[in-house]
Symmetry: C2
Subunit: 141 residues, 2 copies
């Protein structure tokens, strides 16, 4: 946690109570949270904090790499503490994003893209479907 605060300082940003609390909430969660979820938890700790502040700081934290943003193809973006580059299996039933320990930007695909002359900035790979727990629930009807 203090490491994260140092990271803020190192980038020239101030350590505010709001930022402490946002980082606390993120560090206490084991899954991706929407801004609304983060805001709710933040307000349980300190009710006066504005949702605008939550948005602002998540953008900032994502920019400097402290958090990573997960853009699903519908609904709001979700955030978690950055745990390095990864991709996810996103469950349409329960919404959980299961980490996939492998990245498609390597081997043959990487070579094809490089050879095309395109200058790669970033990439996204995301699989949607149903996790094992949700498969039973979903199969029935």
């Amino acid at each position: 946690m203090t490491g994260l605060l140092n990271e803020l300082s190192a980038h020239g940003y101030k350590i505010t109570p709001q930022r402490r609390i946002i980082l606390q909430v993120l560090s206490e969660s084991c899954r991706h949270l929407s801004v609304e979820e983060i805001g709710d938890k933040v307000k349980q700790i300190e009710p006066g904090i504005s949702v605008a502040t939550v948005y602002r700081n998540l953008n900032l934290l994502a920019e400097i790499g402290i958090v990573s943003r997960l853009d699903l193809h519908e609904g709001p973006a979700r955030y978690e503490l950055n745990q390095g580059h990864d991709h996810h299996l996103v469950c349409l039933g329960c919404g959980h994003a299961i980490k996939l320990g492998v990245c498609p930007m390597q081997g043959e695909i990487k070579k094809i893209i490089e050879e095309s002359g395109f200058e790669v900035n970033s990439h996204h790979f995301e699989v949607t479907g149903y996790c094992q727990e949700c498969q039973t629930r979903h199969r029935k009807p």
Copy 2:
């Protein structure tokens, strides 16, 4: 073009002037268009058509597979006539989506996902960066 109209009928949907024009616009374009762009072109042909109708019909056409929707990570969705499953190199400079002739959902990655017990519904792979034409423009400053 008549093939596309038949497809609509075959699914039990009516062939309306609005739908004809939307399909005409899509078939005359060689790239992904936003709803706004499609709406503008549609209104050049028939000014009375509502933007709501454009949205409604693009959703419908996507649902029955006549068009494919491209969700970028920011900005509005973009559409084109469905040319089969594919992925894109999306240029941050000019916005063009260059088709990538290869899919990461195969080989080792596919196997890993299958073995995880996750039931795959769909997948997205998208690379962002700068196309060759835009690289020069972008490098300078």
